[in-house]
């Protein structure tokens, strides 16, 4: 190649590059005719164009790719990036870096690179060492495949796909963050989707409260040892306390009258057609204003994900009024009126640790209150079996006929009182 020719290519090369970067981002593909149309190569000389392209490729400023319609195309690289390539000692390292570069913020698995570049593990190690030393790449982990060793360009942040989104910290689902946020969101939905009746805020005068509806459960007192229909009676004296849900059949009297004429502090359902139930948008905005998510921003989709979890937990329900899709807490009148931040403080001081973040225990029913409903050996239990009702310690405890066993007490020395016929053994 003549000297003049070389100089000409050199000038054209720089002009072409500078023009190309004016025409789009470094992901745009330029075909041969695109480049000719730039009107830089004189007389649309194809030969010359190819020479110029070759020179740019050597400088790592252009990258050839298989273009859209099967033809060849090129995209450019910034001078800065290109310098990284040219500074590398050999072609192999360059190819390894290229693979990592092209993977973008998803990162790439070590094995994938090895296969693509077709090198051994040992060579790979050397290349990685060089690249890491220069600070070009960094290792990373993806939540999708946490056991794979992956690499990413050092100047990129791993994508949501790799980190798992705002709910992950260091590749781990951030349980406590989520739980706090669930609590805050629930509190917001509860407060906005129900009416907070202040204590004692009566409408003046004696408040009339439903006395006893047709459904009132009046305890029927029965006693006796005979077998009679009379005995199977449902005194609502249930041994296991049932917080969160009244045992008695809904009797307006039981709940309201007990608190005399004063109105208790509680949440009340909103009239039908209420337009103030918070939507996903409202909730997202509220979280932003609250500013509790300092290092991540939560979009509406993130909040929707969280709200859906609250629905699945049976804490809130979607409610559609006209076109508005809002949310409200289920069972408003049963909800705690203690604000979440106060609860959080209490919990720091060790108060109410057994309660979930709603501040209210979940409902129970007859089955879950009976010892059998929670029994670890239920499947084995049978009269005449190794574990049987007539020798059951859980029931004895439940009936208050026997002290609750302390941890570590030998199971062997079970006090078989009921019908002790020697074969009694207790569930572990």
């Amino acid at each position: 190649m003549e000297e003049g020719e070389a100089a000409k290519v050199d000038i054209l090369k720089n002009t072409l590059y500078d023009t190309v970067i004016q025409h789009g981002s470094n992901t745009r593909l330029f075909t041969q005719s695109d480049l000719l149309d730039l009107d830089i190569i004189p007389h649309r000389n194809l030969q010359l164009l190819l020479q110029v392209i070759q020179a740019l490729t050597n400088d790592k400023l252009l990258v050839g790719v298989t273009g859209g319609q099967g033809g060849l195309a090129w995209k450019y690289r910034s001078r800065e990036d290109a310098k990284k390539y040219t500074s590398l000692p050999d072609e192999t390292t360059m190819l390894v870096y290229q693979a990592i570069d092209e993977a973008g913020n998803d990162g790439i698995w070590k094995r994938t690179i090895e296969n693509r570049v077709n090198i051994s593990d040992a060579v790979m190690k050397v290349c990685i060492k060089i690249l890491e030393q220069r600070g070009y790449i960094a290792s990373m982990r993806s939540v999708e495949q946490p056991n794979r060793k992956m690499y990413i360009r050092a100047d990129l942040r791993p994508s949501h796909r790799a980190t798992g989104g705002p709910w992950f910290t260091d590749g781990q689902l951030d349980g406590s963050f989520i739980e706090t946020l669930e609590g805050v969101v629930f509190e917001f939905i509860k407060g906005r989707g129900a009416y907070h009746q202040a204590p004692g805020a009566g409408s003046g005068g004696a408040t009339r409260i439903p006395k006893r509806g047709v459904v009132t459960a009046a305890p029927t007192v029965t006693a006796g040892t005979k077998r009679s229909a009379k005995e199977i009676t449902s005194d609502d004296v249930t041994p296991a306390a049932t917080p969160g849900r009244p045992v008695a059949v809904a009797s307006p009297a039981s709940a309201a009258a007990a608190k005399s004429a004063r109105k208790p502090e509680m949440f009340l359902p909103m009239p039908a057609g209420y337009k103030g139930y918070p939507t996903i948008h409202d909730i997202t905005e509220f979280i932003h204003q609250l500013g509790i998510t300092s290092n991540t921003t939560l979009g509406e989709n993130d909040i929707r994900q969280l709200v859906e979890v609250l629905i699945f937990d049976g804490l809130i329900e979607p409610i559609k009024v006209g076109k508005r899709r809002g949310f409200r807490a289920l069972r408003p009148t049963k909800q705690s009126t203690i604000p979440y931040n106060i609860r959080a403080k209490e919990m720091q001081n060790g108060i109410g640790l057994h309660l979930p973040h709603t501040g209210v225990l979940p409902p129970t029913n007859g089955l879950t209150e009976a010892p059998c409903g929670r029994c670890p050996v239920f499947d084995l239990c049978e009269e005449g079996g190794t574990v049987s009702p007539s020798t059951c310690v859980y029931f004895m405890e439940w009936l208050g006929l026997e002290e609750k066993k302390k941890e570590g007490d030998g199971v062997a020395e079970v006090k078989v009182e009921a019908g002790s016929d020697g074969k009694g053994s207790a569930p572990p």
Binding site: T220, T225, S234, V237, V309, C381, P389, S390
Partner: protein, 656 residues
């Protein structure tokens, strides 16, 4: 009812508990053997015929068996009536319900009926007469006749007659008829034969004839079914009685006057407790409790009144496809029943303040259009799943979206429909005047409703609920789609069991799978926002509890477990069956524990049975014995009430 081994065992235990070992053993045998004659029983039980006869008589007395005698045959076939055997558990609850709804005398009569099984009215009258006479004697003998306090609840045979009439009208008591002891299968066979012989002698040919045949069959079955209610119909024909009784819920203050207005009942007729209708009333109570849980006490009180009106003529919870699908009518009443706002308003106690339990808001914040939307037809069953489904963009009720701007204000002036002159002064229900002043022009002012509108607000809240508590089926007309609301209640009860058994995360997973269908394990962490390890542990725990299930999907035609992937899903029916089984077994365990306690305290208990001790236990027993006795009674009570509570769940899952 699905008669599993557990159900059979439970029923045998209950019968043993109530009526002793012999009937219980025969009942079990009938369950194992199926239809049997007395000869079969004799053979397989190795018992004397007279003993078996005795046991069968007890079972028949309490309606615990069916029997069928083919014309000309020598021996009848016996079958166990599992439904009624199970219902024995519910006796206490039924009594309590009768007491609160119909007063203590009604409970007393019902209790006697439950204790003695089916009874001739004449016998019942005699029994009461004896008691009344004895009471009178005591009264005469007592030093101060004036202040003598009788503890009799039913004070005259006239009152007894009246109480029975009332219970018959409520359908809680019905007549024992010729068909009472025929099993449903036998009745069907009999009716089929009848219809065939009468109308389709040459056989049923063609689609039209088939439909006609089904209709005839349904009609005839309905007749048979309503026969036990013939007494009710007779009473109702008796003119004003029904209307007068409306007022009776309040009590028996001037009982005597009313008693005389009831027709005397035929002493030869045999009556019994009608469990089917009792179940309807129990369902009402449970629904009210559900509503109270969801929206508070005042709203649920309104709901109770609505249900009471609505179910007056509903005889059973579950419709029989064979009987109720043909012809639009059920027992002669149009299929869709509804209650009007005015009817409910009339029946609310004046002491109830309806403003309690309603959130306050401004006119601006309410969409009247959305609130008062009318749905003349029940929604499709699928909208149920929607409750759990989290809103994507796809929504099945898009017709709502036709609504345009929604800033229409709520001008809550409800105009009550013209009241038909039931009695003249209804018109002044505080509508005029009050309404005018309550109306605020300012949209930002808190709305103050008058009483009819307060009532309406409670009803609208119920109608708006996702749980289908009420459907607003016409202007100021309200109805309940029982199937839908019960489905939502069943789900809610199952959720409670799931949450209490496998924790809140377990509930979360079950509901996700229910809403999203079958899911690969990989898809779950994101939706559930749970860590993989925790999630896997939970799924396995829930699988063994029977709440979720897994399906293997092979990747290749040749199934290879290693290559297959696994889809998790949650099947409500399976969960329900599992929970039912657990419930039955829990009830069994309660009875067995009680049995064991009895055995343990048998020395004390045998003493208390002595006639000289009975009723005077505290004085007669040694201190230590008395303490044990007291403790036993307390345990017994706890166990029974626990059985009741478990039965609450069973009723929801199975009967309502």
């Amino acid at each position: 009812m699905n008669v599993t081994k557990t159900v059979a065992e439970l029923c045998a235990l209950i019968i043993d508990e109530m009526y002793g070992e012999l009937p219980s053993r025969i009942f079990s045998m009938l369950l194992t053997r199926g239809r049997s004659t007395i000869l079969d029983l004799e053979q397989s039980m190795e018992m004397t015929r007279s003993k078996i006869r005795h046991g069968l008589a007890v079972l028949q007395q309490y309606n615990l068996l069916y029997w069928h005698l083919d014309p000309g045959a020598q021996h009848a076939f016996y079958e166990a009536n599992v439904e009624n055997a199970y219902y024995l558990i519910r006796a206490g609850k039924i009594l309590e319900m009768v007491e609160t709804s119909y007063g203590p005398p009604a409970k007393d009569v019902m209790q006697n009926l439950l204790l003695s099984g089916q009874t001739r009215i004449g016998d019942l009258v005699v029994a009461y007469q004896e008691r009344i006479e004895q009471d009178n004697k005591q009264k005469a003998a007592s030093p101060d006749e004036e202040s003598y306090k009788s503890n009799l609840l039913v004070k005259s045979t006239g009152q007894l007659n009246s109480v029975i009439c009332r219970l018959v009208e409520a359908e809680l008591i019905d007549l024992v008829t010729a068909d009472t002891f025929e099993s449903p299968d036998d009745i069907l066979k009999k009716v089929e034969k009848e219809v065939n012989d009468k109308h389709f002698y040459g056989g049923v040919r063609g689609t039209k004839a088939k439909i006609e045949y089904q209709e005839k069959l349904a009609e005839r079955l309905r007749e048979v079914r309503s026969e036990p209610k013939s007494l009710k119909r007779k009473l109702e024909q008796n003119g004003s009685s029904a209307k007068r009784r409306k007022l009776l819920g309040g009590g028996m203050t001037n009982g005597l006057v009313e008693d005389e207005m009831d027709p005397a009942l035929d002493p030869q007729q045999v009556i019994r407790v009608n469990y089917e209708k009792c179940t309807v009333d129990l369902r009402n109570r449970r629904l009210v409790q559900y509503a109270s849980d969801l929206f508070g006490d005042t709203t649920s009180y309104v709901y109770a009144q609505l249900l009471r009106h609505l179910t007056k003529d509903i005889s059973r919870c579950r419709l029989d496809p064979l009987v109720d699908h043909y012809g639009e009518k059920e027992d002669g009443v149009p299929a869709q029943k509804f209650v009007t706002t005015a009817e409910i308003l009339d029946s609310l106690k004046t002491a109830i303040d309806l403003s309690v339990g309603l959130g306050k808001t401004t006119r601006k914040m309410l969409s009247k259009k959305a609130a008062t939307a009318i749905h003349p037809r029940p929604p499709m069953m699928k909208s149920l799943i929607q409750e759990a489904e989290v809103q994507g963009d796809a929504s099945s009720d898009e017709e709502d979206d036709a609504e345009t701007t929604d800033d229409e204000d709520y001008d809550g002036d409800y105009k009550p429909p013209p009241l038909k002159g039931v009695n003249g002064n209804h018109g002044t229900n505080g509508v005029n005047g009050v309404n005018g002043s309550a109306r605020a022009d300012d949209k930002d002012q808190e709305i103050v409703w008058d009483r009819p509108n307060q009532l309406r607000q409670h009803l609208l809240i119920l109608a708006e609920s996702n749980q289908h508590l009420v459907r607003h089926c016409g202007i100021d007309e309200w109805t309940v789609d029982f199937e839908l609301v019960m489905a939502s209640m069943r789900v809610s009860e199952l959720d409670t069991v799931i949450e209490q058994t496998t924790g809140p995360k377990g509930l979360r997973l079950a509901r996700i799978l229910r809403a999203r269908g079958k899911l690969d394990e990989k898809a779950l962490p994101t939706i559930a926002m749970m860590q993989k390890a925790e999630l896997q542990r939970k799924l396995l725990e829930m699988q063994s509890a029977g709440f979720v299930h897994v399906q293997e999907v092979p990747r290749e035609p040749k199934a290879d477990v290693k290559k297959s992937f696994f889809l998790w899903y949650s099947d409500l029916d399976k969960t329900r069956d599992r929970v039912l089984d657990t419930s039955y077994r829990t009830m069994m365990h309660c009875i067995q524990v009680l049995e064991a306690l009895r055995h343990k305290d048998r020395d004390v208990l045998s003493t208390t049975r002595r006639s000289d001790v009975k009723g005077k236990e505290e004085e007669m027993l040694r201190q230590e014995y008395f303490q044990r006795y007291k403790r036993f009674l307390q345990s017994e009570k706890m166990l029974f009430s626990q059985i009741m509570r478990v039965d609450d769940l069973v009723a929801i899952l199975r009967d309502f």
